[in-house]
Symmetry: C2
Subunit: 292 residues, 2 copies
């Protein structure tokens, strides 16, 4: 399989890993990489990626059959304004943003009649950022959510599926709204909890924490700029999930404070048993849970 | 260094790792292992650990210079009742329980004048349980909290320090009460959050979760029996820390729901920046954060 000319705009962790994966698997006839900063381009040149590098996004997309927006969410609309006149009408344009409702609302009207647009979100990443952390195997075994709407052309969906599958992803289709709710649950809420835990436990944990605390809070090392942007772009869904977990935790607190120790024992046991059971099911069904 | 005859009562993950560490480093002249179940003893025999195995706890401790209680918290007082008449008065008796206030209150009176007692808690473990998961290097780089009180003899403290250091631990001294507060913060609260997250996010996470969710919730795979016991034995401190994190999360929720997006951005950024900074300091100062 070959996707023709592929343009990656923003070669950070995700964009960089995408470039490495496409190059390693020989999936692009030509690979174009745009980065705003000359220093980022230098890093890719030094790494010896077989791609054409440019600081001009329109030049990157001019002949592209596939364009992947890998810049921060806040920068996407501006970038699309810059490139839209240079796009081929048959080009597939997608992104890798962690929030889909707002991205789709911003970009779909800009790309309408200019190219084939569909949002994507590869569920792969790391607390590290930048091209230095990029890996050709980042998407292997990862879920990639694509978010067609009623305006999405079926060809865009088909080609996006092929694209992500070809680098090892498992494609899941959700509406942008469902995506945002689900991802608030499995990514944005855990991030907030990890950050709150680190802030609360810092003094004790610095000296005493073991491997449990280390793993539970790993994501809190992620970029504060990136995560502030994500949480705000998905604030409604995050607030909802935060509300749900707080009422569950509040019930646990009542149980812990209560007088009836036998009832507390049975309620806590049920909660922990259910969690253990669910997590073992995840380990069975999700390939990433086996990989470390 | 050699600790003479060492008796390990309860060769699960921690007790088993202790036995392996002592054997590997040649730290015990004789190693006695007591397990209640014949099947557990068989597993150790099969693994070829150089130790004397017995199903009789009094026999295990009769000549022991060091006795380490590695049974569940709930079983400790019963076990100490069984062994106290067989102990040498010069024996050091310690434990590995995850809660120290209640353990010390239960055991100190039983061991007074019978042996040298001090509580211990190695901050090492795994979501796995049992001798099958034991590793000789489990304590390397781990903090081990010892919890002397005003009744603790200085010799008990000195020997416990030596013992844990000799297998690679870094000893930290806290009162049982401080221990329980700190550990509620860095271990018991994270466990509850992980379990609540898994229960809430199971349907979405099963298909979609990436490495972040996997690591954030790893501890939720821990034994529900063990953790129910721990949370109940430390319920007061856990409720306190739960209360603190809920008021912090509630503040975040208000920010997410508020109208003032600029204020929200700055508050979230400060929270995430502080967490990222704190976590990088932990990675610098805590050897376990470098080890995976």
């Amino acid at each position: 399989m070959n996707f023709g000319t592929v343009a990656i705009l923003g070669p950070g962790l995700i964009g960089g890993s995408l470039a490495l994966a496409l190059a390693e698997r020989g999936l692009a006839e030509r690979l174009m990489i745009y980065a705003r900063s000359p220093r980022a381009l230098d890093a890719i040149r030094t790494a010896g990626v077989d791609a054409e590098l440019t600081g001009n996004p329109s030049e990157a997309v001019r002949d592209a059959d596939v364009v992947v927006l890998c810049v921060p969410i806040e920068a996407m609309a501006g970038l699309v304004h810059e490139i839209r006149d240079a796009l081929k009408p048959t080009a597939l344009v997608t992104d890798v943003g962690s929030v889909k409702g707002s991205v789709d609302r911003d970009l779909a009207p800009l790309l309408d009649d200019r190219a084939l647009w569909i949002g994507s979100h590869p569920m792969a990443g790391s607390e590290q950022a930048g091209f230095a952390a990029a890996r050709a195997d980042l998407f292997e075994g990862a879920s990639v959510i694509i978010t067609p709407t009623q305006h999405t052309q079926s060809e865009a969906k088909r080609r996006a599926e092929q694209f992500w599958q070809s680098i090892g992803g498992t494609v899941v289709t959700l509406t942008p709204e469902k995506h945002d709710l689900h991802v608030a649950q499995i990514s944005h809420l855990p991030h907030l909890l990890a950050a709150a835990l680190v802030n609360q436990a810092f003094d004790e944990a610095r000296e005493l924490a073991g491997g449990g605390f280390r793993d539970t809070t790993r994501v809190a090392s992620g970029s504060p700029e990136l995560w502030t942007e994500i949480l705000l772009a998905n604030s409604k869904a995050v607030a909802l999930q935060l509300d749900r977990i707080m009422s569950n935790l509040s019930a646990v607190e009542s149980v812990l404070k209560g007088e009836d120790k036998a009832a507390a024992k049975s309620i806590l046991f049920e909660m922990l048993k259910r969690a253990q059971h669910s997590r073992s099911k995840m380990t069975e069904s999700n390939p990433l849970f086996k990989k470390r």
